[in-house]
C-alpha cells in the first residue's frame, strides 16, 4: 500500500512536471499508516491544507489544526502555530501524518526523526498548483476519488464563472491590496491568475516586472493615483481593518475613480489569500464586482 501511495503521488508530481507547472508538494518519511484506510491521525498546521482536507472528506481523520485554521468552523483548532511550528507540541497529538505549508525550523526533519510522515505543501504559484495539492492530499489520505471530484467541480465552476463575465471593449484594471502600506500582488501570483480569469488587468504589474519581489511588491502611492484602477479589491479588511470608507480618507485617494464611483470591494482576507477550495468563492466575488460595472 505504501508503495502504491508513493507511486501515485509520484505520478501526480510527474504529471505536474510534464505540464510545465512547478509544484510545491514535498513528501517526507513513510506514511506510518500504510494501510488502505490511509493515515488515521492527521495534524494540519496549514490553513489551506485544513480547508482542503475537509473539502475532500478527510475531516474525520484530522485530530488537530493550527491556531489560524479557522475554516471550516468544525476544524479542531488548537494552539499549534503554523508560523513557528513546535515539533514536540505537534507530536503531542500522536499524528501519523503532518501537513504543513512552511518549514522554518526543520520541522520536517524533526518529525522524520520521530518516525512521523509529513507533507509540505508550500504556497501555490498557480491555480493548477492548487489542484495538484488537492490531488496529492487525496492520494495520501486515501480520499483520491473525492479529491478528483472536488478538482473537477472546482474547475467546472471556475470556467462557468469566467464565461459569465460581461464582454467589454476595454478590459477593466484592478488593484488588490494586501495591507495598508500598499503591498499588493502582480499577475504572476495565483491571486493574479484568478483576477485574469475575470478578464481584469493588474495595475501593479510594472512594480515587479522582473519578478524579484516574487509577485508581491509594495506599490508606490503616487503610481497608484496615476494608474487610477477601475476597481479596488481590499484583502486587508481583517488584518488591517481597512474599509471602503477608510481608504477614501487616505491622502489624495479621493481623486481615484474607483473611490468616487464606489467600486471598492471588501474581500475576506482569508478567501482572497488561501489557495484552497475557496478560490471559487474568490473568483465569484470578483466576477460579481466586474459584472456590476456598467
Amino acid at each position: 500500500m505504501l508503495r502504491k501511495i508513493l507511486a501515485s503521488l509520484l505520478a501526480v508530481l510527474t504529471l505536474a512536471a510534464c505540464g510545465g507547472t512547478e509544484t510545491s508538494t514535498a513528501m517526507s518519511g513513510a506514511p506510518a499508516a500504510a494501510e488502505p484506510a490511509g493515515p488515521a491521525r492527521i495534524v494540519s498546521i496549514s490553513t489551506v491544507a485544513t480547508e482542503m482536507l475537509f473539502a475532500i472528506g478527510a475531516d474525520d481523520k484530522v485530530v488537530a489544526v493550527d491556531s489560524l485554521s479557522t475554516f471550516p468552523v468544525e476544524a479542531p483548532v488548537t494552539d499549534l502555530s503554523g508560523f513557528e511550528p513546535n515539533v514536540e507540541a505537534i507530536l503531542g497529538f500522536r499524528p501519523d501524518l503532518v501537513v504543513l505549508s512552511y518549514d522554518p525550523g526543520d520541522v520536517v526533519a524533526g518529525l522524520e526523526a520521530a518516525g512521523v510522515a509529513s507533507l509540505l505543501q508550500g504556497a501555490s504559484m498557480t491555480i493548477a498548483d492548487t489542484y495538484i495539492q488537492i490531488l496529492a492530499l487525496g492520494e495520501i489520505t486515501a480520499h483520491a476519488a473525492e479529491a478528483a471530484a472536488l478538482v473537477d467541480a472546482m474547475q467546472a465552476e471556475m470556467s462557468d464563472l469566467a464565461a459569465s463575465v460581461t464582454e467589454r471593449d476595454e478590459p477593466l484594471s484592478y488593484y488588490h491590496e494586501l495591507d495598508d502600506t500598499l503591498y499588493t500582488v502582480t499577475s504572476a501570483t495565483f491571486i493574479g491568475e484568478v483576477y485574469a480569469m475575470a478578464g481584469l488587468v493588474n495595475a501593479a504589474d510594472p512594480a515587479d516586472a522582473d519578478g524579484s519581489s516574487w509577485g508581491y511588491p509594495q506599490l508606490s502611492a503616487e503610481y497608484l493615483l496615476d494608474a487610477d484602477p477601475d476597481i479596488i479589491f481590499l484583502a486587508d479588511t481583517k488584518c488591517c481593518a481597512q474599509t471602503a470608507a477608510a481608504i477614501a480618507e487616505r491622502p489624495g485617494w479621493e481623486t481615484l475613480t474607483a473611490v468616487s464611483t464606489g467600486r471598492i470591494v471588501e474581500l475576506d482576507d482569508d478567501v482572497a489569500s488561501r489557495w484552497g477550495p475557496r478560490i471559487v468563492d474568490f473568483l465569484r466575488a470578483i466576477v460579481d464586482a466586474v459584472n456590476s460595472v456598467e
Binding site: D180, S220, A241, G252
Partner: protein, 363 residues
C-alpha cells in the same frame, strides 16, 4: 574637546563665544551648506517620483498653494493630489524625522561621550515597537475610528522605555553614571522586545502589519502625520539648540563643569529627555529608521569639528537633507515599487559605521 570649545555657560548662542574669527566663518559656511542641502533635498523630493510630472508645473502648483496667490499649474486632479497630498507631506516628514534622529543622535553621543550612542540606545525602538504591536494586536483602530492610534501608542511606548531606563538607573535618589544608564537602557530594551515577541507570537496573524510598521511608514504618510510630529519637533529642536553650550562644557568633564557652576547630571537628564522626546515622536510616525542618528553626527564632526555649537545644528540640517534624499531613492530605485527606507539608510549607514569603527580603533 579642545580648549577652544570650553566656554562659560552664559554664552549659549551656537556661533557666539570665544571662537576665533576663522572658525566662526567655517561655521557659517557649513551652516549655509546645510541650509542649501535641505532646500535641494526638498525640491528634489517634490519633483521626483514614479509618476513623471514636469518640474515647472510642480513649481507652479506649489506657488498656487501660497496664500493670496492664484496661478494655473495645468496639472490634472490626480497630479495635484500626487504633488500636494503625497509628495509634499512625505518630503516634510522626511526632513523632520531626519533632523530629529540626527539631532538626537548627536545629543546622545555628547551626553554619553560615546561615539556609538544613537537615539535608540535607551530603548526607544523597543518601546515604540511594543506600543505599536499592542495597538495593532488590540485592534485599537477599530475602537478609535477617527484617529490612527498606532503612532500614539508607539510614542507612549518609546517614552515609557526611556523613563523606565532613567528610573532604574537611579539608586538611593542619586542619578547613576552614564554607564549605569546605558546598561539600564539595554535591559529595558531587551525586556520590552521580549514582551513584544511574546505578544506577536500569540497573535501571529498580525505579524505582517507589525513588520510593515517597523520597516517604516514614510511611504504612506500624509499631512496628518506631519501635524502629529510638528509640535514635538519644535520643542526638541529648540531644546537641543539651547543645550549646545552646556554640552560643550560637559565634554570637558564633570568636574570642570561643576567648577563652572553647572550641574552635569541635571543637564544630562534634560538633554536626554529632550532628545528622547524628539526621537520617540519621529519613530512613532515613521517606524524604525536606523543609522541616521549615528552616521550624520559623525559625518558632521569630521568636516566641522566636534563643538556641539556646530554638531547639533548641522546634524539637524544634514540629517533632514539626508533622510529626505534617502526617501527619494526609496521611491524611485524600484519604481513603481517602494523599498523600505530603513534599507536605504542602513545600506549607506552600515559601511560608514564600520569606517568610523576603524578610525576609532586606529586613533
Amino acid at each position: 574637546m579642545t580648549s577652544r570649545s570650553l566656554r562659560s555657560p552664559a554664552s549659549r548662542g551656537w556661533l557666539s563665544g570665544p571662537v576665533g574669527p576663522g572658525r566662526s566663518r567655517l561655521g557659517v559656511r557649513w551652516l549655509a551648506v546645510g541650509v542649501a542641502s535641505v532646500l535641494v533635498a526638498a525640491v528634489v523630493g517634490v519633483v521626483t517620483g514614479p509618476v513623471s510630472i514636469p518640474v515647472w508645473h510642480v513649481v507652479l502648483e506649489l506657488v498656487d498653494r501660497l496664500p493670496l496667490v492664484d496661478v494655473d499649474s495645468s496639472l490634472s486632479v490626480a497630479e495635484r493630489a500626487i504633488v500636494w497630498d503625497l509628495r509634499a507631506p512625505r518630503v516634510v516628514l522626511g526632513l523632520l524625522v531626519g533632523a530629529l534622529l540626527a539631532g538626537s543622535g548627536a545629543a546622545y553621543q555628547g551626553v554619553f561621550r560615546n561615539p556609538l550612542a544613537d537615539p535608540y540606545l535607551l530603548g526607544i525602538a523597543a518601546g515604540a515597537g511594543l506600543g505599536a504591536t499592542i495597538a495593532i494586536v488590540a485592534r485599537l483602530q477599530d475602537a478609535i475610528g477617527f484617529i490612527d492610534p498606532v503612532p500614539l501608542a508607539a510614542f507612549a511606548g518609546a517614552l515609557l522605555a526611556v523613563a523606565a531606563a532613567g528610573t532604574l538607573s537611579v539608586r538611593r535618589g542619586k542619578t547613576g553614571s552614564p554607564a549605569t544608564l546605558i546598561l539600564a537602557g539595554v535591559a529595558v530594551a531587551n525586556f520590552f522586545t521580549a514582551i513584544q515577541t511574546f505578544i506577536q507570537q500569540q497573535n501571529s496573524e498580525t505579524l505582517q502589519q507589525v513588520f510593515a510598521w517597523i520597516l517604516g511608514r514614510l511611504s504612506t504618510a500624509g499631512w496628518g502625520e506631519v501635524r502629529l510630529l510638528v509640535p514635538y519637533a519644535a520643542i526638541c529642536m529648540a531644546g537641543l539648540l539651547l543645550s549646545v553650550g552646556s554640552l560643550d562644557v560637559l565634554a570637558v568633564g564633570d568636574e570642570e563643569a561643576t567648577t563652572l557652576g553647572l550641574r552635569p547630571r541635571t543637564i544630562r537628564r534634560l538633554v536626554l529627555m529632550t532628545a528622547s522626546l524628539g526621537a520617540a515622536a519621529a519613530v512613532a510616525v515613521s517606524g524604525l529608521i536606523g543609522f541616521v542618528g549615528l552616521v550624520v553626527p559623525h559625518a558632521v564632526r569630521m568636516v566641522a569639528g566636534s563643538s556641539h555649537r556646530r554638531v547639533i545644528p548641522l546634524s539637524l540640517l544634514f540629517g533632514a537633507a539626508f533622510l529626505a534624499l534617502a526617501d527619494v531613492v526609496a521611491r524611485t530605485v524600484r519604481s513603481p515599487a517602494e523599498l523600505p527606507i530603513g534599507v536605504i539608510t542602513a545600506f549607506i549607514g552600515a559601511p560608514f559605521f564600520l569606517l568610523i569603527l576603524r578610525r576609532q580603533s586606529t586613533a
